[in-house]
Amino acid sequence: MAYEISNGHRTAKIELLNRVGHKALIKVDDIKYDLDIVEVENGVYSIIYNGQSYNVELIRGESSKKFIVNTFAKSFNIEVIDAESKYIANRNKGMEMEGSNQVISPMPGKIVKIPVTVGEVVTTGQTLIVVEAMKMQSEFKATGDKIVQAILVKEGDTVDSHQVMIKLESINSGEEK
């Protein structure tokens, strides 16, 4: 069975054609790779292809289909797309929120300051929230003229990575809502 797999900027067809022990024949789009692949440590794969030795380290994401994968040169966010993922993706398409209308914490931290209130009109570049982690304060600013729709945290709160902190509404895009 062929799967689809995406690394953010490219979606490829991928198929396991054969596998015996640590030898595998895998087709990615039109290229067939005759590989020697083995998980040497938890999450660390050693791949030998055409004599080349590759070390690939991956971190399993929140679902079994999502990975952060590091090669020597680059890091990728990779997702295996099966029927279920496709269904969810399609269902969400209509209701998906514009990325810039959420303020998301990229790291765990502590809320130092929220200089805005719900309902307030904010302009491009205005500071919405200040988060502190590892002795450094990061200011998160409005990327357009918006209205503060909801503030989901309060000063002194601890936030996790990827947590939504503030929701906004674009002012000049009435059709979106």
């Binding site: 797999i5 396991l16 990615v28 292809y49 590759y54 690939v56 990975f67």
Partner: protein, 502 residues
């Protein structure tokens, strides 16, 4: 003689100090906040005491709690590491009053050097060159205009109590002087509770070069040569090396003498660092003194062959220095890279988290000073530095090649790090040629932030690893479903499908 040392710090420096204590046969005592129960320094120490909640001011900056742990454990000395209480004159005094040896200078030296204006005055009195500018706290704006007229723009306005770039203002045109002065004073008041500022000539192509000194209780002071620390980002050092590729042997010995004079001026005791700003023409000026061990001390240790923490302890024990200036020499070249849990592709945003997997670089000429381990969660409360990587080579070229090799070997997953950014610095021609100033990172912005190419094959290997992992994990969870899905892929395709149709 000291028998038991409490290390009032955490992270790599706590472990590093304890290593030297252990080599000296001393018992080590760790202190830890609630966020640090699982930290390496707690595991490494012979004894460990909790000193309060996660925020530093309630634990690692809490003098009562630290003195309490010292009393409880019977420690006869406290090593402050760097940061936290290491340059706190009151803490040095407090230890003295409690009869515990503070491994570092006394309050007088810390105070004198801690106030930038007093330090400048003291240096001038001792014949150590300082950057041309004011020697008094500036309150009169007219006086400021006079000074700047005399030394000429550009100038830098700095907070006397300052550090870390706060309360600093660069003035390029005379008409910007007064507004900048007012802003700097207001910033200084906010940051340090003290609006004292002073003005210095701004050096156009500055190099940051510092000298390590050691001073015993008997008036003997030596310097252990320089460290070149011009690779900085937002006034924070990123890479340090010794010897400096800039200075000559003649200037080196001259600056070393001035560094010794600076330490003698405050009756210094212990290990300290005199920072200089150096122009392209090798004019050098005293910048400030750090009255503690520096983060970058390992490059000096490697090239001069001295364990600075052991020397600190010997000095605290009242022993005279075991070497004279003429016994010391620089052998080969050392570089240090600081590795942070931060995302260089996202404006160096801190990136605390759980270390999933780590491969440490090892082998000839590599030193690794760290504290994290697999499964350890780097807390969000403290400094984002994960480790320091130090390489040595017979030549500067070899030590760069070795650093490149060590960075290649260093793998860490779970948090984002500055490793690839550091690799790009090692490949930058200005760095390789040793021709760089403190503007290096700014000047090389484009080169330093471009990501490496990963061709189709490399990209496909990433996809394949994720795919195989996905299939294998699926097989573990749903062996039945997996067999069905895979059946059509196997060579004995027909037979298996028939079985499944039954």
């Amino acid at each position: 003689m000291i028998k038991k040392v409490l290390v009032a710090n955490r992270g790599e420096i706590a472990v590093r100090v304890m290593r030297s204590c252990r080599e000296l046969g001393l018992v080590t005592v760790a202190v830890f906040s609630d966020a640090d129960r699982q930290a390496m320094h707690v595991r490494y120490a012979d004894e460990a005491y909790n000193i309060g909640p996660a925020p530093s001011r309630e634990s690692y900056l809490n003098m009562d709690a630290i003195i309490g742990a010292a009393k409880q454990s019977g420690a006869d000395a406290i090593h402050p590491g760097y940061g936290f209480l290491s340059e706190n004159a009151t803490f040095s005094e407090r230890c003295k009053a409690e009869g515990i040896k503070f491994i570092g200078p006394d309050a007088y030296a810390i105070r004198t050097m801690g106030d930038k204006i007093t330090a400048r005055k003291t240096m001038i009195a001792s014949g150590v060159p300082v950057v041309p500018g004011t020697t008094e706290k500036l309150s009169d704006e007219k006086k400021a205009v006079e000074v700047v007229k005399e030394i000429g723009v550009p100038v830098m306005i700095k907070a006397s109590a300052g550090g870390g770039g706060k309360g600093m203002r660069l003035v390029k045109k005379m008409e910007d002087l007064i507004p900048s002065l007012r802003m700097a004073k207001s910033e200084a008041m906010n940051a340090f509770g003290d609006d004292a500022v002073y003005i210095e000539k701004y050096i156009e192509s500055p190099h940051h070069i510092e000298f390590q000194i050691l001073a015993d209780q008997h008036g003997n002071v030596v310097h252990l040569f320089e460290r070149e620390c011009s690779i900085q980002r937002r006034h924070q050092k990123v890479i340090e090396e010794t010897p400096s590729p800039l200075i000559t042997q003649e200037i080196r010995m001259e600056m070393g003498e001035k560094a010794v004079a600076a330490a003698k001026a405050v009756n210094y005791e212990g290990a300290g660092t005199i920072e200089f700003i150096v122009s392209d023409q090798l004019d050098y000026y005293f910048l400030e003194m750090n009255t503690r061990l520096q983060v970058e001390h390992p490059v000096t240790e490697r090239v001069v062959g001295v364990d600075l923490v052991k020397e600190q302890i010997n000095i605290a024990n009242g022993l005279p220095l075991s070497f004279r200036q003429e016994d010391l020499r620089q052998d080969g070249h050392a570089i240090q890279c600081r590795i942070y849990a931060e995302d260089p592709d996202n404006n160096f945003m801190p990136n605390p988290g759980v270390i999933k997997h780590i491969t440490v670089p090892l082998g000839l000429g590599v030193r690794y000073d760290g504290y994290v381990y697999e499964g350890y969660e780097i807390p969000m409360h403290y400094d984002p530095m994960i480790c320091k990587l130090i390489t040595w080579g017979k030549t500067r070229k070899e030590s760069i090649a070795r650093m490149r090799r060590a960075l290649y070997e260093y793998k860490i997953t779970g948090v984002k790090t500055s490793i690839k950014f550091l690799e790009r610095i090692m490949d930058a021609p200005e760095f390789i040629d040793g021709k760089y100033t403190t503007h290096f990172i700014e000047d090389n912005h484009e080169r330093l932030f471009q990501t490496k190419l990963c061709g189709t094959e490399c990209e496909d290997m990433a996809l394949i690893a994720a795919f195989v992992d996905y299939l294998d994990k699926l097989a573990q969870i749903q062996p039945q479903k997996f067999t069905e899905e895979l059946a059509s892929n196997w060579k004995d395709f027909g037979r298996k499908r028939n079985v499944l149709r039954l």
